[in-house]
């Protein structure tokens, strides 16, 4: 549906709808009572492809792909803050944008609340890792474009990991690399790194962001129904997966740095 007439864009018809199908497949909820995961172990993450430095115009950048989730991230700065008030610490600005074709339904180009909530989550995951006191009066801009989304949680986790990689690629001082991992409570099990379909049937979702090299947690986000012991179990599994992801990030940065010289 066209949200509003915008003369700065090429406009289509006044309203349009995504196609409706006959015989929608109705399997997921009822048939999956025993809920076994289809193509991987419950403690496995999806394979990660991470490539720093793809965007040549940016100070630092990273592209991350975890199966269907595809995110491009670029870092500009530190550059002069727009507002003139003096700030002893630098500002970390995170902006997230969905490409119009990134989801099942077309997203109109106008920004909505979902973009901002993802941006806030990523900013919170990163802010304590960056040495902002080194950059007075400056802003570090992190821009992310979600080319294809497979679950909001996956976007937050992959986005945080990509953004931290891009910050490292830009040579910005950090205490450590931030990696992030999600978990979903499905029945009695904890499924790591759920897809959109899997988080739809989950009771609760958990996202952990941490700096594995320092053993420090930077952000925890939980929603839905979970027992305290499940939350603690989620922290444990996510933490160990984050350590795995950390070695992927470190390796990709190393390969990229070597290829430059």
């Amino acid at each position: 549906m066209q949200a509003a007439f915008d003369r700065r864009r090429i406009n289509g018809p006044e309203e349009s709808f995504s196609p409706t199908f006959t015989n929608e497949p109705q399997e997921s909820i009822l048939e999956n009572v025993h809920r076994t995961r289809k193509d991987r172990n419950i403690s496995d993450i999806r394979p990660i492809f991470l490539q720093p430095g793809l965007i040549s115009q940016a100070n630092g950048s990273a592209y991350i792909e975890t199966q269907r989730t595809k995110i491009a991230c670029s870092v500009y700065g530190p550059r002069q803050s727009k507002n003139t008030t003096y700030n002893e610490k630098g500002k970390l600005n995170v902006e997230v944008k969905f490409a119009p074709f990134s989801c099942e339904r077309r997203r109109t180009p106008l920004r909505d609340a979902e973009d901002r909530s993802i941006a806030t989550a990523i900013q919170q995951a990163l802010i304590s890792s960056v040495r902002l006191e080194q950059f007075p009066k400056s802003t570090i801009d992190i821009f992310l474009i979600i080319i294809e989304a497979d679950g909001v949680e996956g976007c937050i986790a992959s986005g945080s990991t990509a953004a931290s990689t891009a910050l490292a690629d830009a040579g910005i001082d950090m205490y450590g690399l931030v990696t992030s991992c999600t978990a979903a409570v499905v029945g009695a099990d904890i499924w790591i790194d759920p897809t959109q379909e899997e988080s739809n049937i989950a009771n609760g979702i958990f996202i952990l962001s941490c700096m594995p090299a320092l053993g420090i947690v930077t952000n925890v986000w939980q929603s839905g129904r979970m027992t305290p012991s499940q939350v603690l179990a989620c922290i444990d599994v996510c933490d160990s997966r984050c350590t795995d992801i950390h070695s992927i990030v470190a390796q990709s940065l190393l390969v990229n740095a070597r290829s430059k010289t």
Binding site: T22, N23, A99, P100, C103, E148
Partner: protein
């Protein structure tokens, strides 16, 4: 203090790195002289040769095309033109046709130049540059390559609207050529589900591909003859013709020329903003001096360069 800092930085660097830093600083401060010095040596800053020999493939940047990698889109393509990267996704939706054109659907191309792709763009509504690009792409794609009547499901009741959205991921100049190629490739990749309009409930119902073998998904009815491809050029200092300009060259150009060719390499559209290459300069570049006007000279040269490149691109397009 600045000197202290720079000497501190320099002590970390090897000799070639220090030279590269000097060159980068010089380019930043004197972009025009930087480019002039390269062109004097008959080479472009990114290592391409100057467009002197018409058959030299090294005057253009490398193109890579990858289609169909985005599953949420009806059709998609990723194009890399040198460092310029554009992703394009097509979303097909259903709407009511216009009253004036009850047999026609819609094709809605837009390009986005987000803050991510270059430091010269800010986040927010489309910049002037994005608006101009969208408008030009709309004009070119509206040439009848996709007959709008082929998007009709039920006359006056229901039709397809194709939202063709291109997003520039890395802006290193000549976004128009890259975006048009991405849009064409994404449209060729589109698969539309079978759709029927049900007059009783006043709704259009689609059949999931593979569900009913008698009602399969279909590709778009593309008029292959009319598939457009764009070739852009810049004129620097009225004396150098630069095909496929990069982001560092673009702001220095006095003239931009775009040639749009169809699949049979006939000229579909042509635009030249500014004056052509000065004749006295082109003479010593070995350009045919018999032509009467220099504008015609430059344009003829651009068209012949474009046609040679067209053959190379077409091969890429049909090989994917």
């Amino acid at each position: 203090m600045a000197e202290g800092l720079s000497s501190r930085v320099n002590s970390f660097l090897s000799d070639p790195e220090r030279e590269a830093l000097k060159a980068a600083t010089f380019q930043r401060l004197h972009p025009r002289i930087y480019l002039e010095r390269f062109l004097q040596e008959k080479i472009r800053p990114d290592g391409r040769s100057k467009a002197e020999d018409i058959n030299d493939a090294n005057v253009w940047r490398n193109v890579e095309v990858n289609v169909g990698s985005i599953t949420t889109a009806s059709g998609s393509a990723l194009v890399r033109l040198g460092n310029t990267t554009v992703v394009c996704g097509v979303k097909a939706e259903i709407c009511e046709p216009e009253l004036d054109n009850p047999h026609e659907g819609f094709l809605v191309p837009n390009i986005d130049l987000p803050a991510l792709c270059s430091p010269k763009f800010k986040s927010g509504p489309p910049t002037e540059e994005a608006q101009v690009l969208s408008e030009r792409l709309n004009e070119v794609l509206g040439n009848g390559m996709i007959p709008l009547s082929s998007l009709c499901i039920c006359p006056g009741k229901s039709a397809w609207v194709l939202y063709v959205d291109a997003t520039v991921i890395n802006y290193d100049g000549n976004a128009f050529d890259a975006a048009l190629l991405a849009m064409v490739c994404a449209l060729r990749n589109v698969s539309l589900p079978h759709a029927d309009f049900d007059p009783e409930v006043n709704r259009t119902i689609c059949i999931r591909p593979g569900f009913d073998p008698a009602k399969p998904a279909r590709n778009l009815a593309i008029q292959e003859d009319l598939v457009p491809l764009a070739f852009s050029f810049g004129v620097f200092a009225r004396s150098h013709l630069l095909p496929d300009p990069t982001a560092s060259e673009e702001p220095l150009l006095d003239t931009t020329i775009s040639i749009i060719l169809d699949a049979r390499a006939r000229v579909l559209a042509l635009s030249q903003l500014g004056v052509g290459v000065n004749k006295s300069e082109t003479l010593d570049q070995g350009v045919d001096s018999n032509s009467t006007t220099r504008e015609a000279d430059t344009l003829a040269r651009c068209i012949s360069l474009a046609k040679i490149r067209h053959a190379v691109l077409l091969e890429k397009l049909y090989d994917i």
